[in-house]
Protein backbone atom coordinates (compact mmCIF):
# COMPACT_ATOMS: atom_id res chain seq x y z
CA UNK A 1 0.00 0.00 0.00
CA UNK A 2 1.06 3.51 -0.67
CA UNK A 3 -0.20 7.00 0.01
CA UNK A 4 -3.02 8.45 -2.00
CA UNK A 5 -5.47 11.26 -1.71
CA UNK A 6 -9.24 10.84 -1.54
CA UNK A 7 -9.95 11.82 -5.12
CA UNK A 8 -7.45 9.21 -6.25
CA UNK A 9 -9.20 6.61 -4.15
CA UNK A 10 -12.56 7.62 -5.60
CA UNK A 11 -11.30 7.38 -9.15
CA UNK A 12 -9.67 3.99 -8.58
CA UNK A 13 -12.85 2.65 -6.97
CA UNK A 14 -15.04 4.04 -9.74
CA UNK A 15 -12.80 2.55 -12.41
CA UNK A 16 -13.34 -0.93 -11.01
CA UNK A 17 -17.07 -0.78 -11.66
CA UNK A 18 -16.51 -0.39 -15.39
CA UNK A 19 -16.38 -3.87 -16.91
CA UNK A 20 -14.24 -4.68 -19.88
CA UNK A 21 -16.16 -4.62 -23.14
CA UNK A 22 -18.82 -2.34 -21.74
CA UNK A 23 -19.84 1.12 -22.95
CA UNK A 24 -19.84 4.28 -20.87
CA UNK A 25 -20.96 7.85 -21.38
CA UNK A 26 -18.73 10.19 -19.38
CA UNK A 27 -18.32 13.83 -18.58
CA UNK A 28 -15.12 15.72 -17.92
CA UNK A 29 -13.13 15.51 -14.69
CA UNK A 30 -13.14 12.56 -12.30
CA UNK A 31 -15.56 10.36 -14.31
CA UNK A 32 -13.38 10.68 -17.36
CA UNK A 33 -10.27 9.93 -15.30
CA UNK A 34 -11.96 6.80 -13.95
CA UNK A 35 -12.90 5.63 -17.43
CA UNK A 36 -9.38 6.30 -18.72
CA UNK A 37 -7.89 4.43 -15.77
CA UNK A 38 -10.20 1.47 -16.33
CA UNK A 39 -9.18 1.39 -19.97
CA UNK A 40 -5.49 1.37 -19.07
CA UNK A 41 -5.91 -1.39 -16.47
CA UNK A 42 -8.56 -4.10 -16.43
CA UNK A 43 -10.85 -2.81 -19.21
CA UNK A 44 -8.85 -2.18 -22.39
CA UNK A 45 -12.05 -2.67 -24.40
CA UNK A 46 -14.07 -0.09 -22.52
CA UNK A 47 -15.90 1.96 -25.13
CA UNK A 48 -16.00 5.61 -24.01
CA UNK A 49 -18.64 7.93 -25.42
CA UNK A 50 -18.89 11.72 -25.13
CA UNK A 51 -22.25 13.38 -25.51
CA UNK A 52 -21.24 15.90 -28.17
CA UNK A 53 -20.52 13.08 -30.63
CA UNK A 54 -17.21 11.36 -29.87
CA UNK A 55 -17.26 7.54 -29.94
CA UNK A 56 -14.31 5.54 -28.59
CA UNK A 57 -11.45 8.04 -28.81
CA UNK A 58 -7.88 7.19 -27.88
CA UNK A 59 -7.73 9.95 -25.28
CA UNK A 60 -4.32 11.61 -25.38
CA UNK A 61 -5.10 13.63 -22.24
CA UNK A 62 -8.01 14.72 -20.10
CA UNK A 63 -10.61 16.66 -22.13
CA UNK A 64 -11.60 20.10 -20.84
CA UNK A 65 -14.98 19.91 -22.53
CA UNK A 66 -17.07 16.89 -23.51
CA UNK A 67 -17.00 18.34 -27.01
CA UNK A 68 -13.35 19.30 -27.43
CA UNK A 69 -10.91 17.74 -29.92
CA UNK A 70 -9.68 15.21 -27.38
CA UNK A 71 -13.10 13.57 -27.16
CA UNK A 72 -12.78 12.29 -30.71
CA UNK A 73 -9.01 12.07 -31.04
CA UNK A 74 -8.30 8.88 -33.02
CA UNK A 75 -11.88 7.91 -32.34
CA UNK A 76 -13.78 5.16 -34.09
CA UNK A 77 -16.42 7.71 -35.03
CA UNK A 78 -16.96 11.45 -34.69
CA UNK A 79 -20.71 11.82 -35.06
CA UNK A 80 -23.46 13.94 -33.50
CA UNK A 81 -25.24 14.50 -30.22
CA UNK A 82 -28.32 12.82 -31.65
CA UNK A 83 -26.29 9.74 -32.53
CA UNK A 84 -24.90 9.51 -29.01
CA UNK A 85 -28.19 9.81 -27.17
CA UNK A 86 -30.04 7.67 -29.72
CA UNK A 87 -27.44 4.99 -29.04
CA UNK A 88 -28.19 5.34 -25.34
CA UNK A 89 -31.95 5.36 -25.85
CA UNK A 90 -31.60 2.25 -28.06
CA UNK A 91 -30.08 0.43 -25.09
CA UNK A 92 -26.47 0.15 -26.21
CA UNK A 93 -24.78 2.08 -23.41
CA UNK A 94 -24.13 0.35 -20.09
CA UNK A 95 -22.98 3.12 -17.79
CA UNK A 96 -23.29 6.81 -17.40
CA UNK A 97 -21.12 8.74 -15.03
CA UNK A 98 -22.58 11.85 -13.41
CA UNK A 99 -22.14 14.47 -10.75
CA UNK A 100 -24.55 16.95 -9.20
CA UNK A 101 -25.06 19.56 -6.51
CA UNK A 102 -27.58 17.49 -4.55
CA UNK A 103 -28.56 13.84 -4.37
CA UNK A 104 -31.39 12.16 -2.45
CA UNK A 105 -31.95 8.65 -1.11
CA UNK A 106 -33.29 7.47 -4.50
CA UNK A 107 -30.26 8.79 -6.33
CA UNK A 108 -32.15 11.70 -7.87
CA UNK A 109 -29.80 14.51 -8.81
CA UNK A 110 -30.06 18.28 -8.81
CA UNK A 111 -27.83 20.38 -11.04
CA UNK A 112 -30.31 23.17 -11.78
CA UNK A 113 -30.89 25.52 -8.85
CA UNK A 114 -30.51 25.93 -5.12
CA UNK A 115 -33.49 27.57 -3.46
CA UNK A 116 -36.84 28.34 -4.97
CA UNK A 117 -37.16 27.81 -8.70
CA UNK A 118 -38.79 31.13 -9.45
CA UNK A 119 -36.32 33.04 -7.31
CA UNK A 120 -33.23 30.85 -7.03
CA UNK A 121 -30.37 31.42 -4.64
CA UNK A 122 -27.98 29.80 -7.08
CA UNK A 123 -28.46 29.01 -10.72
CA UNK A 124 -26.47 25.97 -11.82
CA UNK A 125 -26.03 24.97 -15.46
CA UNK A 126 -29.01 22.60 -15.65
CA UNK A 127 -29.28 19.09 -17.01
CA UNK A 128 -26.96 19.28 -19.99
CA UNK A 129 -27.01 15.67 -21.08
CA UNK A 130 -27.26 14.27 -17.54
CA UNK A 131 -31.00 13.66 -17.55
CA UNK A 132 -30.73 11.95 -20.94
CA UNK A 133 -27.83 9.71 -19.89
CA UNK A 134 -29.44 8.77 -16.57
CA UNK A 135 -32.74 8.03 -18.27
CA UNK A 136 -31.37 5.85 -21.05
CA UNK A 137 -28.22 4.07 -19.84
CA UNK A 138 -28.53 0.84 -17.91
CA UNK A 139 -26.53 1.95 -14.86
CA UNK A 140 -25.86 5.39 -13.49
CA UNK A 141 -22.75 5.96 -11.41
CA UNK A 142 -22.40 9.19 -9.48
CA UNK A 143 -19.24 10.68 -8.02
CA UNK A 144 -19.66 13.45 -5.48
CA UNK A 145 -18.22 14.83 -2.25
CA UNK A 146 -20.13 13.56 0.79
CA UNK A 147 -21.70 16.41 2.79
CA UNK A 148 -25.09 16.99 4.43
CA UNK A 149 -25.69 19.86 2.02
CA UNK A 150 -25.35 17.50 -0.91
CA UNK A 151 -26.93 14.31 0.48
CA UNK A 152 -30.37 15.78 1.15
CA UNK A 153 -33.83 14.54 2.05
CA UNK A 154 -35.33 16.35 -0.87
CA UNK A 155 -33.47 17.84 -3.79
CA UNK A 156 -34.43 21.47 -4.47
CA UNK A 157 -34.97 20.51 -8.10
CA UNK A 158 -35.08 17.02 -9.57
CA UNK A 159 -32.91 17.59 -12.62
CA UNK A 160 -31.89 14.03 -13.39
CA UNK A 161 -33.81 10.85 -12.58
CA UNK A 162 -32.65 8.37 -9.99
CA UNK A 163 -35.31 5.97 -8.72
CA UNK A 164 -37.67 8.99 -8.48
CA UNK A 165 -40.09 8.12 -5.64
CA UNK A 166 -39.06 4.51 -5.23
CA UNK A 167 -39.74 1.05 -6.67
CA UNK A 168 -41.61 1.05 -9.97
CA UNK A 169 -41.68 4.82 -10.29
CA UNK A 170 -39.20 5.03 -13.17
CA UNK A 171 -41.26 2.55 -15.15
CA UNK A 172 -44.48 4.35 -14.22
CA UNK A 173 -42.96 7.61 -15.43
CA UNK A 174 -42.19 5.95 -18.76
CA UNK A 175 -38.43 5.54 -18.44
CA UNK A 176 -36.86 2.40 -19.93
CA UNK A 177 -37.16 -0.68 -17.73
CA UNK A 178 -34.31 -2.07 -15.62
CA UNK A 179 -32.35 1.15 -15.62
CA UNK A 180 -31.36 3.41 -12.75
CA UNK A 181 -28.72 4.42 -10.23
CA UNK A 182 -26.09 1.81 -9.59
CA UNK A 183 -23.33 3.22 -7.39
CA UNK A 184 -22.52 6.48 -5.66
CA UNK A 185 -18.85 7.01 -4.94
CA UNK A 186 -18.01 9.67 -2.41
CA UNK A 187 -14.97 10.69 -0.41
CA UNK A 188 -16.32 8.60 2.51
CA UNK A 189 -17.90 5.49 1.08
CA UNK A 190 -19.21 3.44 -1.79
CA UNK A 191 -22.99 3.41 -1.78
CA UNK A 192 -25.46 1.35 -3.76
CA UNK A 193 -29.21 0.94 -3.79
CA UNK A 194 -31.33 -1.60 -1.94
CA UNK A 195 -33.08 -3.80 -4.46
CA UNK A 196 -36.40 -3.79 -2.64
CA UNK A 197 -36.76 -0.16 -1.59
CA UNK A 198 -34.43 1.46 -4.13
CA UNK A 199 -33.01 3.51 -1.25
CA UNK A 200 -29.36 4.32 -0.91
CA UNK A 201 -27.27 1.91 1.12
CA UNK A 202 -23.70 1.96 2.32
CA UNK A 203 -21.78 -0.91 0.75
CA UNK A 204 -18.17 -0.07 1.51
CA UNK A 205 -16.46 2.38 3.82
CA UNK A 206 -13.23 4.04 2.83
CA UNK A 207 -10.26 3.29 5.11
CA UNK A 208 -10.66 5.05 8.44
CA UNK A 209 -14.30 6.03 7.89
CA UNK A 210 -17.13 4.76 10.12
CA UNK A 211 -20.76 4.24 9.16
CA UNK A 212 -21.82 6.87 11.70
CA UNK A 213 -19.52 9.37 10.06
CA UNK A 214 -21.19 8.72 6.71
CA UNK A 215 -24.64 8.98 8.27
CA UNK A 216 -23.69 12.26 9.96
CA UNK A 217 -22.84 13.68 6.56
CA UNK A 218 -26.13 12.55 5.09
CA UNK A 219 -29.46 14.26 5.72
CA UNK A 220 -31.56 11.16 4.99
CA UNK A 221 -31.33 7.82 6.75
CA UNK A 222 -28.88 5.47 5.07
CA UNK A 223 -29.44 1.75 4.72
CA UNK A 224 -26.56 -0.64 4.99
CA UNK A 225 -25.78 -4.06 3.63
CA UNK A 226 -25.33 -6.85 6.23
CA UNK A 227 -21.57 -6.89 6.07
CA UNK A 228 -19.92 -3.66 5.09
CA UNK A 229 -16.40 -4.18 3.91
CA UNK A 230 -13.65 -1.64 3.73
CA UNK A 231 -12.90 -0.12 0.36
CA UNK A 232 -9.84 -1.70 -1.16
CA UNK A 233 -7.16 1.02 -1.27
CA UNK A 234 -5.70 1.79 -4.70
CA UNK A 235 -2.90 -0.45 -5.85
CA UNK A 236 0.51 0.97 -6.53
CA UNK A 237 0.25 0.16 -10.23
CA UNK A 238 -3.16 1.88 -10.52
CA UNK A 239 -1.84 5.03 -8.84
CA UNK A 240 1.15 5.13 -11.11
CA UNK A 241 -1.02 4.89 -14.20
CA UNK A 242 -3.43 7.47 -12.85
CA UNK A 243 -0.67 9.91 -11.97
CA UNK A 244 1.66 9.34 -14.89
CA UNK A 245 -0.63 8.54 -17.78
CA UNK A 246 -4.21 9.55 -17.03
CA UNK A 247 -3.75 12.91 -15.34
CA UNK A 248 -0.07 13.88 -15.42
CA UNK A 249 -0.90 17.57 -15.07
CA UNK A 250 -3.06 16.95 -12.03
CA UNK A 251 -6.16 18.59 -13.46
CA UNK A 252 -8.40 16.26 -11.49
CA UNK A 253 -6.22 14.63 -8.87
CA UNK A 254 -4.77 18.02 -8.12
CA UNK A 255 -1.08 17.64 -7.56
Amino acid sequence: MCEYCTIELMICVAAQFLKDGSTVGVGTGAPCAAAMLAQKTHAPNLLIIFEAGGFAPQLPSMPISVGDSRTFHKALMAASMMDVFNTCQRGMVDYSFLGGAQIDTYGNLNSTIIGNYDNPKIRFPGSGGANDFAGFCWHTITMTPHTRKRFVKKVDFLTTPGYLTGPGSREAAGLPEDTGPYKVITDLAVLGFDEGTKRMQVEKLHPGVSFDQVQENTEFKLLKIPVIEQTEPPQKKELEILRDEVDPHGFVIGR
Binding site: D20, G21, S22, T23, N45, L47, G54, F55, A56, P57, Q58, F72, K74, A75, L76, M77, A78, A79, M82, N86, T87, C88, Q89, R90, G91, M92, D94, F136, W138, P176, E177
Partner: protein, 334 residues
Amino acid sequence: MTNLSCGTGPLFMDPDPKPARAFFRKKEKKLINKVLSVKEAVSRFVADGDYLASGGFGTNRISTAALHEIVRQKKSNLGLAGHTTTHDFQILAAGNMHGEKLLARVDIAYIVGLEARGLSPHARRVMESGQVEVCEWTNYALACRLQAAAMGIPFLPVRTMMGTDTFHRSAAKEITCPFTGRKLVALPALYPDIALIHVHESDCYGNCRIRGITVADTDLARASKKVIITAERIIDNDEIRNSPHSTVIPSFCVDAVCEVPYGSYPGNMPGEYFSDEEHLRQWLEVEKDEVEFDRFLHTYVYNVPDFESYLALSGGVERIKELRTQEFLVPKEL
Protein backbone atom coordinates in the same frame (compact mmCIF):
# COMPACT_ATOMS: atom_id res chain seq x y z
CA MET B 1 -59.55 15.96 -33.52
CA THR B 2 -61.97 13.27 -34.63
CA ASN B 3 -61.96 10.51 -37.22
CA LEU B 4 -58.49 9.19 -36.53
CA SER B 5 -58.01 6.08 -38.60
CA CYS B 6 -55.69 3.09 -38.67
CA GLY B 7 -54.09 1.25 -41.52
CA THR B 8 -55.37 -2.31 -41.94
CA GLY B 9 -52.11 -3.86 -43.08
CA PRO B 10 -50.23 -6.38 -40.96
CA LEU B 11 -47.51 -5.15 -38.60
CA PHE B 12 -44.78 -7.74 -39.07
CA MET B 13 -42.32 -6.55 -36.44
CA ASP B 14 -42.71 -5.43 -32.84
CA PRO B 15 -42.04 -1.67 -32.58
CA ASP B 16 -41.61 -1.80 -28.79
CA PRO B 17 -38.19 -0.61 -27.65
CA LYS B 18 -38.10 -2.91 -24.63
CA PRO B 19 -37.09 -6.18 -26.34
CA ALA B 20 -34.84 -4.27 -28.73
CA ARG B 21 -33.05 -2.60 -25.81
CA ALA B 22 -32.57 -5.97 -24.14
CA PHE B 23 -31.07 -7.35 -27.35
CA PHE B 24 -28.78 -4.37 -27.96
CA ARG B 25 -27.61 -4.49 -24.34
CA LYS B 26 -26.18 -7.97 -24.86
CA LYS B 27 -24.61 -7.26 -28.21
CA GLU B 28 -20.81 -7.49 -28.23
CA LYS B 29 -19.23 -4.02 -28.12
CA LYS B 30 -15.57 -5.09 -28.01
CA LEU B 31 -13.25 -4.57 -30.92
CA ILE B 32 -12.98 -8.14 -32.13
CA ASN B 33 -12.04 -9.37 -35.56
CA LYS B 34 -15.32 -10.01 -37.38
CA VAL B 35 -13.93 -10.99 -40.77
CA LEU B 36 -15.78 -13.96 -42.19
CA SER B 37 -16.56 -15.45 -45.56
CA VAL B 38 -19.97 -14.50 -46.93
CA LYS B 39 -20.96 -18.15 -46.70
CA GLU B 40 -20.08 -18.33 -43.05
CA ALA B 41 -21.67 -14.96 -42.23
CA VAL B 42 -24.98 -15.84 -43.87
CA SER B 43 -24.97 -19.30 -42.37
CA ARG B 44 -24.29 -17.93 -38.90
CA PHE B 45 -26.41 -14.78 -38.85
CA VAL B 46 -29.37 -15.30 -41.19
CA ALA B 47 -31.97 -17.63 -39.70
CA ASP B 48 -35.10 -18.98 -41.35
CA GLY B 49 -37.98 -16.69 -40.45
CA ASP B 50 -35.75 -13.64 -40.01
CA TYR B 51 -36.87 -10.21 -41.13
CA LEU B 52 -34.30 -8.85 -43.55
CA ALA B 53 -33.35 -5.46 -44.94
CA SER B 54 -31.10 -4.80 -47.88
CA GLY B 55 -28.96 -1.65 -47.86
CA GLY B 56 -28.18 0.66 -50.73
CA PHE B 57 -30.82 1.41 -53.30
CA GLY B 58 -32.01 -1.48 -55.47
CA THR B 59 -29.25 -1.68 -58.05
CA ASN B 60 -26.86 0.67 -56.30
CA ARG B 61 -24.40 -0.28 -53.59
CA ILE B 62 -26.21 -3.54 -52.83
CA SER B 63 -24.72 -6.59 -51.21
CA THR B 64 -25.16 -8.96 -54.16
CA ALA B 65 -22.81 -11.46 -52.58
CA ALA B 66 -24.88 -11.81 -49.41
CA LEU B 67 -28.17 -11.82 -51.33
CA HIS B 68 -27.00 -14.67 -53.60
CA GLU B 69 -25.71 -16.59 -50.61
CA ILE B 70 -29.12 -16.36 -48.92
CA VAL B 71 -30.74 -17.80 -52.04
CA ARG B 72 -28.02 -20.44 -52.35
CA GLN B 73 -28.46 -21.52 -48.75
CA LYS B 74 -32.21 -21.78 -49.38
CA LYS B 75 -33.21 -19.69 -46.40
CA SER B 76 -36.97 -19.68 -45.96
CA ASN B 77 -39.88 -17.74 -44.59
CA LEU B 78 -38.04 -14.40 -44.55
CA GLY B 79 -39.54 -10.96 -44.09
CA LEU B 80 -38.24 -8.02 -46.09
CA ALA B 81 -38.20 -4.24 -45.84
CA GLY B 82 -38.72 -3.16 -49.44
CA HIS B 83 -37.73 0.49 -49.79
CA THR B 84 -36.90 0.73 -53.47
CA THR B 85 -35.76 -2.83 -53.67
CA THR B 86 -35.15 -3.62 -57.33
CA HIS B 87 -32.44 -6.08 -58.27
CA ASP B 88 -32.10 -7.07 -54.63
CA PHE B 89 -35.79 -7.98 -54.58
CA GLN B 90 -35.39 -9.82 -57.88
CA ILE B 91 -32.61 -11.96 -56.40
CA LEU B 92 -34.56 -12.81 -53.25
CA ALA B 93 -37.77 -13.49 -55.20
CA ALA B 94 -35.82 -16.17 -57.08
CA GLY B 95 -35.99 -18.16 -53.84
CA ASN B 96 -39.74 -18.45 -54.27
CA MET B 97 -39.92 -21.24 -56.87
CA HIS B 98 -40.92 -24.88 -56.95
CA GLY B 99 -43.03 -24.43 -53.87
CA GLU B 100 -40.16 -23.05 -51.85
CA LYS B 101 -40.82 -19.84 -49.99
CA LEU B 102 -37.80 -17.70 -49.32
CA LEU B 103 -39.91 -14.54 -49.00
CA ALA B 104 -42.98 -14.88 -46.80
CA ARG B 105 -43.83 -11.25 -45.99
CA VAL B 106 -42.83 -7.93 -47.43
CA ASP B 107 -43.18 -4.35 -46.24
CA ILE B 108 -43.57 -2.72 -49.64
CA ALA B 109 -42.52 0.69 -50.72
CA TYR B 110 -41.20 -0.33 -54.13
CA ILE B 111 -40.89 -3.90 -55.38
CA VAL B 112 -41.02 -5.96 -58.62
CA GLY B 113 -39.74 -3.05 -60.71
CA LEU B 114 -36.23 -2.07 -61.76
CA GLU B 115 -37.01 1.61 -62.30
CA ALA B 116 -36.39 2.64 -65.93
CA ARG B 117 -35.53 -0.99 -66.82
CA GLY B 118 -39.07 -2.31 -66.43
CA LEU B 119 -40.78 -4.93 -64.26
CA SER B 120 -39.39 -8.29 -63.20
CA PRO B 121 -41.61 -11.08 -64.61
CA HIS B 122 -40.64 -13.57 -61.92
CA ALA B 123 -41.05 -11.13 -59.04
CA ARG B 124 -44.49 -10.25 -60.42
CA ARG B 125 -45.45 -13.94 -60.62
CA VAL B 126 -44.42 -14.35 -56.99
CA MET B 127 -46.24 -11.25 -55.79
CA GLU B 128 -49.37 -11.84 -57.86
CA SER B 129 -49.64 -15.43 -56.62
CA GLY B 130 -50.70 -14.26 -53.18
CA GLN B 131 -48.10 -16.46 -51.48
CA VAL B 132 -46.37 -13.46 -49.89
CA GLU B 133 -48.07 -11.43 -47.17
CA VAL B 134 -47.76 -7.71 -47.83
CA CYS B 135 -48.07 -4.33 -46.17
CA GLU B 136 -47.88 -1.04 -48.11
CA TRP B 137 -45.64 1.90 -47.21
CA THR B 138 -43.59 4.56 -48.97
CA ASN B 139 -39.84 5.01 -49.25
CA TYR B 140 -39.89 7.81 -46.70
CA ALA B 141 -42.15 5.84 -44.39
CA LEU B 142 -39.77 2.88 -44.32
CA ALA B 143 -36.78 5.19 -43.83
CA CYS B 144 -38.61 6.83 -40.91
CA ARG B 145 -39.47 3.46 -39.40
CA LEU B 146 -35.77 2.59 -39.41
CA GLN B 147 -34.89 5.97 -37.94
CA ALA B 148 -37.40 5.48 -35.12
CA ALA B 149 -35.75 2.15 -34.32
CA ALA B 150 -32.28 3.67 -34.52
CA MET B 151 -33.48 6.29 -32.04
CA GLY B 152 -34.93 3.68 -29.72
CA ILE B 153 -38.44 5.16 -29.86
CA PRO B 154 -41.59 3.23 -30.82
CA PHE B 155 -42.84 5.56 -33.55
CA LEU B 156 -42.23 8.72 -35.59
CA PRO B 157 -45.03 11.16 -36.44
CA VAL B 158 -44.95 12.42 -40.05
CA ARG B 159 -47.20 13.79 -42.76
CA THR B 160 -46.95 11.18 -45.48
CA MET B 161 -49.47 8.66 -46.86
CA MET B 162 -52.37 10.74 -45.55
CA GLY B 163 -55.65 10.24 -47.35
CA THR B 164 -54.41 7.43 -49.59
CA ASP B 165 -54.97 3.70 -49.98
CA THR B 166 -51.26 3.35 -49.29
CA PHE B 167 -52.08 4.48 -45.76
CA HIS B 168 -55.13 2.20 -45.51
CA ARG B 169 -53.06 -0.83 -46.52
CA SER B 170 -50.21 0.11 -44.18
CA ALA B 171 -49.98 -0.60 -40.47
CA ALA B 172 -49.63 3.09 -39.62
CA LYS B 173 -52.01 4.95 -37.35
CA GLU B 174 -53.24 8.49 -37.30
CA ILE B 175 -52.62 10.53 -34.17
CA THR B 176 -53.19 14.11 -33.08
CA CYS B 177 -50.30 16.48 -32.40
CA PRO B 178 -50.47 17.60 -28.76
CA PHE B 179 -49.14 21.06 -29.67
CA THR B 180 -50.89 21.98 -32.91
CA GLY B 181 -53.93 19.72 -32.97
CA ARG B 182 -52.81 18.55 -36.38
CA LYS B 183 -53.46 15.07 -37.65
CA LEU B 184 -50.24 13.13 -38.17
CA VAL B 185 -49.32 9.63 -39.25
CA ALA B 186 -47.52 7.55 -36.63
CA LEU B 187 -45.03 5.16 -38.21
CA PRO B 188 -44.07 2.19 -36.03
CA ALA B 189 -40.37 1.58 -35.41
CA LEU B 190 -38.87 -1.20 -37.51
CA TYR B 191 -36.09 -3.30 -35.97
CA PRO B 192 -35.00 -5.75 -38.70
CA ASP B 193 -33.45 -8.99 -37.53
CA ILE B 194 -30.70 -8.73 -40.07
CA ALA B 195 -29.31 -6.11 -42.44
CA LEU B 196 -27.03 -6.67 -45.43
CA ILE B 197 -25.04 -3.57 -46.26
CA HIS B 198 -22.36 -3.13 -48.89
CA VAL B 199 -19.82 -0.38 -48.20
CA HIS B 200 -16.68 1.00 -49.75
CA GLU B 201 -14.45 0.36 -46.76
CA SER B 202 -14.59 -1.33 -43.39
CA ASP B 203 -11.98 -2.21 -40.85
CA CYS B 204 -11.94 -5.74 -39.48
CA TYR B 205 -14.14 -4.63 -36.57
CA GLY B 206 -16.89 -3.21 -38.77
CA ASN B 207 -16.24 0.53 -38.71
CA CYS B 208 -17.46 1.52 -42.16
CA ARG B 209 -17.18 4.28 -44.69
CA ILE B 210 -19.51 5.00 -47.59
CA ARG B 211 -18.66 7.39 -50.40
CA GLY B 212 -21.67 9.10 -51.88
CA ILE B 213 -25.28 8.86 -50.78
CA THR B 214 -25.96 6.77 -47.68
CA VAL B 215 -29.65 6.23 -48.60
CA ALA B 216 -31.04 4.83 -45.32
CA ASP B 217 -28.04 2.76 -44.29
CA THR B 218 -26.79 4.72 -41.29
CA ASP B 219 -30.16 4.19 -39.62
CA LEU B 220 -30.50 0.66 -40.97
CA ALA B 221 -27.23 -0.41 -39.38
CA ARG B 222 -28.27 1.05 -36.04
CA ALA B 223 -31.84 -0.31 -36.16
CA SER B 224 -30.97 -3.90 -37.06
CA LYS B 225 -30.33 -6.56 -34.49
CA LYS B 226 -27.67 -8.20 -36.64
CA VAL B 227 -25.62 -6.57 -39.40
CA ILE B 228 -23.57 -8.22 -42.13
CA ILE B 229 -21.21 -5.84 -43.88
CA THR B 230 -19.72 -6.65 -47.24
CA ALA B 231 -16.96 -4.26 -48.20
CA GLU B 232 -15.09 -3.48 -51.38
CA ARG B 233 -11.97 -3.26 -49.23
CA ILE B 234 -10.96 -3.98 -45.67
CA ILE B 235 -8.81 -1.16 -44.36
CA ASP B 236 -6.67 -0.75 -41.30
CA ASN B 237 -8.22 0.49 -38.06
CA ASP B 238 -5.59 3.26 -38.04
CA GLU B 239 -7.07 4.62 -41.22
CA ILE B 240 -10.52 4.75 -39.59
CA ARG B 241 -9.11 6.51 -36.54
CA ASN B 242 -7.27 9.08 -38.63
CA SER B 243 -10.56 10.40 -39.96
CA PRO B 244 -13.27 9.49 -37.47
CA HIS B 245 -15.86 11.78 -39.03
CA SER B 246 -15.73 9.57 -42.13
CA THR B 247 -17.14 6.63 -40.18
CA VAL B 248 -20.85 6.23 -40.92
CA ILE B 249 -21.44 2.83 -39.31
CA PRO B 250 -19.68 2.05 -36.01
CA SER B 251 -18.31 -1.38 -35.17
CA PHE B 252 -20.61 -1.96 -32.20
CA CYS B 253 -23.53 -2.30 -34.62
CA VAL B 254 -21.80 -4.88 -36.82
CA ASP B 255 -21.63 -8.68 -36.54
CA ALA B 256 -19.73 -9.77 -39.63
CA VAL B 257 -17.35 -8.13 -42.09
CA CYS B 258 -16.83 -9.80 -45.46
CA GLU B 259 -14.33 -8.49 -47.98
CA VAL B 260 -15.99 -8.75 -51.39
CA PRO B 261 -14.34 -6.70 -54.13
CA TYR B 262 -16.91 -5.71 -56.77
CA GLY B 263 -19.54 -7.03 -54.37
CA SER B 264 -22.32 -4.79 -55.66
CA TYR B 265 -22.04 -6.21 -59.22
CA PRO B 266 -24.20 -6.19 -61.35
CA GLY B 267 -25.24 -3.13 -59.40
CA ASN B 268 -23.53 0.23 -59.47
CA MET B 269 -20.89 1.04 -56.85
CA PRO B 270 -20.35 4.82 -56.72
CA GLY B 271 -16.80 5.80 -57.54
CA GLU B 272 -15.94 2.18 -58.39
CA TYR B 273 -17.96 0.68 -61.25
CA PHE B 274 -21.26 1.29 -63.00
CA SER B 275 -24.14 -1.19 -63.18
CA ASP B 276 -23.94 -3.96 -65.79
CA GLU B 277 -27.04 -3.13 -67.79
CA GLU B 278 -26.54 -6.04 -70.18
CA HIS B 279 -26.49 -8.54 -67.37
CA LEU B 280 -29.52 -6.95 -65.72
CA ARG B 281 -31.39 -7.12 -69.03
CA GLN B 282 -30.46 -10.78 -69.24
CA TRP B 283 -32.01 -11.41 -65.79
CA LEU B 284 -35.22 -9.68 -66.87
CA GLU B 285 -35.24 -11.59 -70.14
CA VAL B 286 -34.70 -15.10 -68.79
CA GLU B 287 -37.32 -14.55 -66.12
CA LYS B 288 -40.02 -14.56 -68.77
CA ASP B 289 -39.74 -18.34 -68.96
CA GLU B 290 -39.68 -20.22 -65.69
CA VAL B 291 -37.67 -23.16 -67.00
CA GLU B 292 -35.09 -20.91 -68.56
CA PHE B 293 -34.91 -18.82 -65.38
CA ASP B 294 -34.43 -21.96 -63.31
CA ARG B 295 -31.56 -23.00 -65.54
CA PHE B 296 -30.07 -19.50 -65.30
CA LEU B 297 -30.26 -19.56 -61.52
CA HIS B 298 -28.57 -22.93 -61.35
CA THR B 299 -25.77 -21.74 -63.61
CA TYR B 300 -25.22 -18.40 -61.88
CA VAL B 301 -26.27 -18.97 -58.28
CA TYR B 302 -27.00 -22.50 -57.10
CA ASN B 303 -24.19 -24.34 -58.82
CA VAL B 304 -21.43 -21.88 -58.01
CA PRO B 305 -19.73 -21.83 -54.62
CA ASP B 306 -19.54 -18.09 -54.17
CA PHE B 307 -19.86 -14.58 -55.54
CA GLU B 308 -16.38 -14.67 -57.06
CA SER B 309 -17.45 -17.55 -59.30
CA TYR B 310 -20.59 -15.66 -60.31
CA LEU B 311 -18.48 -12.67 -61.20
CA ALA B 312 -16.10 -14.86 -63.20
CA LEU B 313 -19.05 -16.29 -65.17
CA SER B 314 -20.24 -12.77 -65.85
CA GLY B 315 -17.00 -11.57 -67.36
CA GLY B 316 -14.85 -11.22 -64.29
CA VAL B 317 -12.43 -8.40 -63.73
CA GLU B 318 -12.38 -7.60 -67.46
CA ARG B 319 -16.07 -6.79 -67.27
CA ILE B 320 -15.48 -4.72 -64.16
CA LYS B 321 -12.79 -2.75 -65.99
CA GLU B 322 -15.33 -1.92 -68.68
CA LEU B 323 -17.87 -0.90 -66.03
CA ARG B 324 -15.22 1.30 -64.43
CA THR B 325 -14.82 3.22 -67.67
CA GLN B 326 -18.58 3.74 -67.68
CA GLU B 327 -18.54 4.88 -64.06
CA PHE B 328 -15.78 7.36 -64.77
CA LEU B 329 -17.37 8.50 -68.04
CA VAL B 330 -14.25 7.61 -70.00
CA PRO B 331 -14.86 8.31 -73.70
CA LYS B 332 -14.85 5.12 -75.80
CA GLU B 333 -12.59 6.33 -78.58
CA LEU B 334 -8.89 6.79 -78.37
